[in-house]
């Protein structure tokens, strides 16, 4: 069981809006007859701050509500989004250095592996996905994909 109120989320919005408010003031709000570059960011962050404070107030005033965890996700799969994010960060960092084909093969290996498929299927699927996407984007659509150390 967990608390359904979103106190942390509301607080983050409040902090973000105050930061944006300060940044917009630094940019210069200007006058009404000549609004400056910070005018719209100021209005937007002010609106954000008001709504965030309102949300925080509602959440604080609300009784603690116990809510069930979302159904559907198996505990073993709960970490999958984190793994996907980590793999994508690594992919972005390696793409320029190792080239498209090699990094995409690695990416697809990692992603297909999360589906608990047979190793042979994972390897074959990754090879096909990398080569087919390379053919589609590099040859048919003319996207210059990074070559890296292998040159493709």
């Amino acid at each position: 069981m967990m608390d359904k109120r979103d106190l942390a989320g509301s607080a983050i919005w409040v902090i973000l809006s105050i930061t944006a408010l300060a940044a917009s003031l630094r940019l210069g709000v200007g006058a009404l007859r000549n609004p400056g570059p910070g005018f719209i960011p100021f209005l937007a962050s002010l609106g954000l701050a008001l709504c965030a404070c309102l949300l925080l107030a509602f959440n604080l005033a609300a009784k603690k509500q116990a809510g069930r965890r979302e159904n559907g996700a198996k505990d073993s799969a709960r970490g999958n989004p984190l793994i996907v994010i980590a793999v994508l960060v690594l992919y972005g960092l390696a793409l320029g250095k190792l080239g498209y084909l090699l990094t995409t093969f690695g990416l697809m290996m990692a992603l297909f592996s999360l589906g608990k498929m047979k190793v042979r299927t994972v390897i074959l699927g990754s090879v096909i996905a990398s080569l087919a996407s390379y053919f589609l984007f590099a040859y048919l659509l003319g996207t210059p994909l990074p070559g890296g150390i292998l040159g493709y």
């Binding site: 006058a31 009404l32 910070g38 609106g47 989004p81 996907v84 697809m108 659509l141």
Partner: protein, 501 residues
């Protein structure tokens, strides 16, 4: 140029072999996306946007528009067959559609959804071509205050009609406005909120943002349940509705079309809202409202007609005023700009080939979609058998390639990923992404028109009161903002005891 000669020119563009191919490709991809639960039209259009970079502007817009109304056609398939909406505009179709399928009437449900969509889509198109030209001429008289008022109405409507908490929807609108101010100031060209990162000097791209919020966020969510997907097994027969089905559904189709037609035009409206309203109207109009939700064909015909009529008429504000009324068209608006074309009152005059080409292609697209969605429905059912563990890694690969392909820059992949993570977390906490993307796309226009209005009036807000159109629209905004507060006051229940909805 009158409508007839415009249509002649439009069909001469749409019937070119290359454009026929893109009409078919757009409808095919739209149907595919509509059939597959998860990736909606915003995600699909943003993911496929880079593919259109090499195309002519008319062909590119024709294809992206085809994806949009293709999704509207096909979204009902999974709603009816497995009670899982292919996209948000088909959520209501689940209520009666799935019940019909359980009673062995999946065929007529799918059939009436397709025929209703065809009729409503075509009526919407006729409305589009009749209204667009006069509205464009009227829009030429609009100044910054009118544009500012219409965009404000869009934001207020989006917040008012959100599915969840209105405060959270408002937060998303303000966050979208803030994000849209990253980059150069549109009037003084000063740098704003770029954190000194050179890649942000030109602002955040709409495509990586949309791909992240809609594509990557959805994939991350689906990766949580990757191994537990069930393979769909259904049999479909008698796709053509009987005479009795037609008799029962005819008024529902007409009512749904009317609702969709008008809600599609409103800024902040669109197909999703139209389906809910159409279902509500149907419940009010039928003899035994309690039987709605038990497998009545009207419950399928009305929302499916409404979302297709709305999909057609939502092009009216985009093409005539240059104001996208919903998030899908906000991304399409971005596509117009990427191809160097500004949608708005001058589009018909300056680019008649594109305007009439797109309108005419939609007539062809409606026919293509009828073929794709009636005789070929068993083929789409096979698509439902693709397991998520194969599909979602491929969608993610397309997102990565799409983000990279915009500027051939890895930075865009990181932008997309950042918004993907944000979208995933926001979704978990009950925040909706559509208000953010609409505010993000409209933000620069909103800013320019507000600042210009204030410059013209030398800082006086009276400019919004002395101009009747601006005043009328702003009064609507005020009323829409006041109604929820009045409702909660009338109920007399202290909302502070409950979490805000």
């Amino acid at each position: 140029m009158d409508i007839v000669s415009g249509l002649f020119q439009g069909f001469s563009v749409a019937l070119r072999f290359d454009n026929l191919i893109v009409v078919f490709a757009g409808c095919f991809l739209g149907t595919l996306v509509g059939v597959l639960p998860g990736i909606g039209p915003v995600g699909a259009i943003s993911i496929l946007l880079p593919i259109t970079f090499q195309m002519e502007p008319a062909g590119a817009i024709i294809m992206l528009a085809g994806i949009y109304y293709g999704v509207m056609y096909a979204g009902s398939t999974t709603s009816i067959l497995i009670n899982v909406p292919g996209e948000t505009a088909s959520v209501v179709t689940c209520l009666d559609g799935y019940q019909m399928a359980r009673q062995g009437r999946a065929g007529p449900a799918l059939g009436i959804a397709a025929f209703g969509s065809f009729i409503a889509g075509t009526i919407g198109l006729i409305g589009l071509q009749l209204i667009a030209a006069p509205l464009s001429r009227t829009a030429l008289k609009f100044g910054p205050p009118e544009y500012f008022a219409i965009m404000t109405l869009g934001f207020v409507f989006m917040t008012y009609l959100s599915h969840g908490s209105r405060i959270k929807a408002a937060i998303m609108v303000f966050a979208g406005l803030l994000l849209s101010s990253v980059g150069l100031d549109p009037i003084t060209s000063e740098q704003r909120m770029t954190l000194g990162i050179p890649n942000l000097f030109e602002g955040i791209g709409v495509a990586p943002l949309a791909m992240g919020l809609f594509g990557v966020a959805e994939v991350l969510k689906n990766f949580e349940t990757l191994a537990s997907g069930n393979v769909v097994r259904v049999k479909i027969k008698n796709l053509f509705p009987t005479k009795l089905d037609w008799l029962q559904a005819r008024w529902a189709i007409i009512r749904g079309t009317c609702v969709g037609f008008f809600l599609g035009i409103l800024p902040g409206g669109g197909p999703v809202i139209a389906t809910f309203v159409a279902y509500g109207v149907e419940k009010w109009a039928v003899r035994n409202p309690d039987t709605m939700g038990t497998g009545r064909i009207e419950g399928v015909a009305a929302p499916e007609s409404a979302n297709n009529a709305a999909a057609s008429t939502s092009f009216i504000p985009l093409l005539t005023l240059g104001i996208p009324p919903n998030p899908v068209l906000a991304v399409l608006f971005g596509a117009f700009l990427i191809h160097g074309i500004s949608p708005g009152p001058l589009l018909i005059r300056d680019h008649p080939d594109i305007f009439w080409g797109v309108v005419s292609s939609m007539y062809l697209g409606n026919v293509v979609l009828l073929i794709l969605n009636v005789p070929l429905i068993p083929l789409w059912v096979q698509v439902l058998r693709i397991p998520g563990k194969v599909l979602y890694p491929l969608v993610l690969l397309f997102c990565v390639l799409g983000a990279y392909g915009i500027n051939n820059n890895v930075f865009d992949i990181f932008v997309m990923l950042a918004f993907g993570i944000a979208g995933y977390l926001l979704n978990k906490k009950g925040y909706e992404a559509p208000p953010l993307i609409l505010a993000f796309v409209l933000g620069p226009l909103f800013e320019v028109n507000l600042r210009r209005s204030l410059l013209i009036s030398q800082g006086s807000f009276s400019i919004f009161i002395t101009r009747p159109i601006a005043l009328g629209v702003l009064i609507c905004c005020f009323l829409l903002a006041i109604v929820p507060l009045y409702e909660s006051w009338r109920r007399g229940k202290p909302r502070s005891r409950r979490l805000p909805t």
